[in-house]
Each structure stands twice: as structure tokens, then as C-alpha cells.
Symmetry: C2
């Protein structure tokens, strides 16, 4: 029987989870502060953790909002800021689940094509003239799904427009700390803190099952989200936030990031090498970090033909069309998540992809 | 300085939290199953816990949905089932946060006045004739805020209508296991399982900070909620569900319920006695369980006059108007949550209420 190889979701490698540390941190937090983390709590999250993030980002606790995943924080933002008749811009392709939440809001979603260094600003500007959006959603570092990092010049131009026209930039930054090559580019948040909400998460840096997402944003916006969150669930799960707080304050996150970068970096390089060898000329961008590489299928190949063939040889793929507001745009698009997959298994997976191409 | 007495929210007594047991359960679960509970998971929640609840309720795992609070599950239900142009019935008064979510949906909310044994069925029937609702929200046991338990006869009549006219009964049952006197009445779920979604929670029986809510409902409805949940947050927080699973499977919940009933039951009795002594004739219903007693302020008294006076003597009260769809209906309504407050402190709090009445 052929082993089934899964190239669908962007899961971290569970072998990298620091289980023993998390057990100890959970215990220490419950021992010290159990009566607080087990009680009803504040909607923006566990107070000491909020203070920790405030210090980390050099902002005030009032600028931090924490929730049960950054995706849900984005759900709150879209529900509070968008509705039919309002516009929102999004990179094309983009994170499929973010697209779904944008569409759920009923707003008019405008997809801006991605170039090698970020959104096509000529299209962006043309769309601005048609109507100012309430927000622009961007994964500026190691974008999901295509792996592109938006250049500093483009960030500055978009930030300038945000200030000029008064729209929000939603900077989704879960991969930013996972840079395996090259050097950091200033965040949208650092360029235009008054017009940026930066979301992030510990799902990629620590463990997704904690569902620990957070947001850095101006206080007036945080307060709107707090109101929406109280009305939705009173407050987030606090036991997991207590565990995370203990983990962070003991300085364990930075060494953990270094540890997983040593695992994931070589996996990125191996994935690129396998692609160059077996399906040359198809990589859309050569990512310097993150979770994903994407390819444009060689001419004549489409996802609707590829998916049933992949099924037949024990290969699970994500339909590239799911990353596009206009699904037809993604019929030749394949995303490859590499973090959970060792180099030899990836080589085999890429070989299988190559074997079913026309 | 006067000690401030707080009669606002329905918090459990943190002295009753089984902190040591929860630490041990969290550790055992992470040791055994850490790679699963720390990874991305299933939208309806941690599989072994779903199976545990299925067995407890004698249903299939496909009938169970677990989320980060029962309130948020209700948010999902209202978003999936309600929209402008659709009707929803609710008890009047009812849980303020449930009212908020009903209103957020944009549906037409119809409030049905509560009598001593549940909703006024003559009004219910009249409203049915005006338009069938998509759902009726009821806290049938020890209702929040008024403490009333809906009689079996009324449950059967409402269930009959639900089957006849095809609407859902949302039975919110977080207090049901906290019966201090009298005997259980059959649940809506047991009477009409095909037309009932029963929500419950471990917030009142174990600890709110876990935000562990769940729903028992027909599988087709569960599947709709799973789709909405995946799109909203991928999956709920799993580390807390793992801890809860271990706690439940070790048989610790039943003794914990017995323990807290021994604390809360005498507090209910003491609260009723203090009210009889200091503000006689005002109790709306004498609850046999739950978290709340409510009174109708003596003639001539209103919340808008009482609230500033309460502030002045170190007494925090919840504005009774927040429990009514038509706020003016609650201007003489005061809810008293008794679980977190020892009998001598409650005696002092009730004395303070009495002292500021006209």
C-alpha cells in the first residue's frame, strides 16, 4: 500500500511541540493564579499576558487584544468594520480562510494581484480611485499561500495611501518571525501605527491547539473589538493564556523559535531544490521564510484535472482555486506547505506531483 | 472605608475551583495526547471529549458540538439560523447576553412574559399565529435572571408546538444540575430531541475560565455549526478541552457538583431569608436551584433612582432593564446572584438594598 502524502494545510511539526515545558508552565500558572484564570475574565484576555505583549511591542496594554485564534480576531474586525456597500482590498491569491471571512461580511471584496514584491500598486491605485476601502488585508511577510514578502517601498506607498485616504491596513504577521534567509523588512505597524492593526499568533511559533491569537492596534479600535468580544463569548479561554504567559515570561519563546527555524529552514531549501529538479521553472517566488512555497502548474495543467489524479496516487493537495476571490484564477495554482514534511518525504511528494503532470 | 459589595454578575465562588485536580488532569492529558491537543484540531472539539459527552447524553458523537463557551455557540446558532425578516421568541426577562446576540442577528425578537411556571402560553400562542419563529430561546431550569423553572406541562405544550410548526427550541441548561430542592423536570431535549438544541457549559459546574460550552442537537444542525465554526476559528482551544476530558473521565465532575451544591444551596436559602426579613413580599419566584433570585422593587422604587444610591453606599447592582427586550419593563427589576456570596455578606448586602429603598 502506498503511504498517503498530505500537502494540504499549513500545520507545524508536532515533534517540535515543547510539551514538557508547557505542562510545567500550565502547572506553575494555575498554582499561582488559578482563582483568576479559572474565573470569568476580561474580554481582551489574561491581564499579565496583555501587559507582556504590550512591553514586547512597546505599546500600552490598551493597544493589545487577545483572542481564541487570530482568525477569530479577524472575524471580529470584519464584523465590526465591514458590511454591504463597504469595500475591502485583499491580495490575490490570499489565505483562503481570510477570504471566506471577508466574503461573509457582505462587503465588496476587491482582489489586487500579487507581484514578486507584493500587490500590484497600479491596480491598487486604480481601485482606490473607484472607491476607498475600509480596510486592506495583507500578509506582508512570507505570504500565505505564495510565500512572497512585500518590499519596503511597497509597504511605504500603501501606508502613505492609508494615511492619506483613511483606511486600515490589517497586517497578518504569523510567519514574520520565521525568516530563514535574508533580513527583516519594517512592518506596516512600525511604518504607520495609527492606521495599522497587526494580528499575530503563537500557532506557528509554539502550538496551534492553544488557539492563541492577538492584535496590536490603536486603543479606540481595541475598545470596539472588546465590546464585540464581550457580547460574543464574555472572554477568551484563560487557562491556555495563563500557560502561554508563563512560557513567555520565562524567556522560552525565543529559543523555541530558534529551534523550529533550524528544522523548517532546511525543509524550505529542500522543497525548493526538489521543485527545481522535478518541476523546474514553476516556483512563483522563492520565499525566505514562512510555511509555504507555491508553483504555477506547467502550461496545459489545471487543478481540476490534477486533483483526481493526485487522489489516485495517494497525494492530498489543496485546490489552488480556494485562494482566489475569483476561483478560476487559481486553476493552475498549487500551494506546498513544507514545515511538517521532512526533506526525503517532500522529495517523494514532489516526484508524485511531477508524475501526474501533462 | 465601606467594603464594596458586588451583586452584579453570576460568578461561581473561586474557593470552590478544584485547582489541584485540574493541574493534574491537564498534565496527564498533555503527557498522553500532547501532539494532538497542541495541533490544529477538529472544529467540533477534542474527539475523546466529544465521545464522552455523546455517551453521557446517550447520543452519537455527531450530535455533540463543543466551543469556547456556550454563549459563543449561541452566537453561531443565531448567525446561522436568524436574519432580518425571521422571528425569534425569548422569555421576558431573559439572560442579557442572549438578548444581545438575538438582537445582533437582525431578526425580529418577540419577548414572551414569564409567569411563575414559565412563559405565558396565551401570549406565546397569539404570537405563533402572527408568525412562526425560527427558534425559541428558553432557560427552562432556574432561569437567569428570575430563577423560575418551567413546568413540565408548559414544556410539553411548547414542544408540541415546536413539532407542529417546525421551530427550534434552544434549551440553555447551564444551571440544571444545580438543584438544591425539589425534583428534576424532564428537559425539552428529552421531550422533543428532533426539535431541540440543548446548550450547556462547565462554567457553573467546574470553572468559567475554561470557557467550555457544548451543544446537543440533531446532526444536520451540528454540521451547519461545524462549517460556521471552521470558517470562524478553525477549531476551539484544545488544551482546556483535554484537561476537561481527563477530569470527566476520572469521574471527578459528579463529586464536584455535590460539593458546590453544599456551598450554594445554603446560600440560596440564606438569600431568600434575608429578603423575607428586610424586603418582604418582593421575591418574584422562590428558586429551587441555580444562581439567581430576583425581586420586584416595592412600589415607588425604580432602578434609575436606585443605581446612583447604591453606588453611594458601596453596593454594585446590575440594572434590571438589561434583561428585557423592552428595557422600561425592567425598571423595577433587581437580580441577585447568590453563589459567590457567603450568607453573612449577603445579609449585609440585602440590608443595604433595603436601606436605599423609598
Amino acid at each position: 500500500m502506498v503511504e498517503i502524502l498530505n500537502l494540504t494545510r499549513g500545520n507545524p511539526d508536532p515533534a517540535a511541540f515543547p510539551i514538557e515545558d508547557l505542562i510545567r508552565c500550565g502547572e506553575e500558572n494555575l498554582k499561582r493564579d488559578g482563582k483568576t484564570v479559572l474565573q470569568y475574565g476580561q474580554a481582551p484576555g489574561y491581564v499579565p499576558l496583555r501587559e507582556w505583549f504590550a512591553q514586547y511591542y512597546a505599546v500600552k496594554p490598551g493597544n493589545i487584544f487577545m483572542g481564541n485564534s487570530s482568525l477569530e480576531i479577524f472575524h471580529f474586525i470584519t464584523q465590526v468594520e465591514l458590511r454591504p456597500g463597504i469595500r475591502a482590498f485583499v491580495e490575490s491569491p490570499s489565505y483562503d480562510r481570510a477570504n471566506t471571512l471577508l466574503q461573509r461580511s457582505g462587503a465588496e471584496i476587491v482582489d489586487i494581484p500579487m507581484e514578486a514584491d507584493g500587490m500590484d500598486l497600479s491596480v491598487f491605485e486604480k481601485e482606490l480611485k473607484k472607491g476607498i476601502p475600509a480596510l486592506v488585508y495583507s500578509i506582508a511577510d512570507f505570504q500565505n499561500p505564495v510565500g512572497i514578502t512585500t518590499s519596503e517601498a511597497k509597504r511605504r506607498q500603501i501606508a502613505t495611501w492609508a494615511q492619506q485616504y483613511g483606511f486600515w491596513i490589517i497586517e497578518d504577521a504569523p510567519y514574520r518571525r520565521l525568516r530563514y534567509h535574508g533580513i527583516d523588512i519594517p512592518t506596516f505597524l512600525s511604518i504607520a501605527p495609527d492606521r495599522v492593526m497587526q494580528m499575530s499568533s503563537l500557532s506557528k511559533l509554539l502550538a496551534p491547539g492553544l488557539r492563541m491569537g492577538y492584535l496590536v492596534a490603536p486603543e479606540a479600535m481595541i475598545n470596539k473589538l472588546i465590546k464585540y468580544a464581550v457580547d460574543t463569548y464574555i472572554g477568551p479561554v484563560l487557562t491556555s493564556q495563563g500557560m502561554v504567559y508563563e512560557y513567555l515570561r520565562q524567556g522560552l519563546l525565543e529559543p523555541n523559535i530558534e529551534k523550529i527555524k533550524k528544522i523548517y529552514g532546511p525543509r524550505l531549501d529542500a522543497t525548493l531544490a526538489s521543485l527545481d529538479k522535478h518541476i523546474p521553472g514553476t516556483i512563483i517566488a522563492r520565499p525566505e521564510g514562512g510555511y509555504f512555497v507555491s508553483i504555477k502548474l506547467p502550461k496545459g495543467n489545471t487543478m481540476d484535472k490534477l486533483l483526481p489524479r493526485a487522489d489516485g496516487i495517494g497525494l492530498k493537495l489543496t485546490d489552488g482555486r480556494s485562494f482566489f476571490i475569483n476561483p478560476a484564477d487559481g486553476n493552475n495554482f498549487l500551494r506546498i506547505p513544507f514545515c511538517q514534511i521532512s526533506p526525503d518525504v517532500m522529495e517523494e511528494a514532489i516526484k508524485r506531483v511531477a508524475s501526474i503532470l501533462d
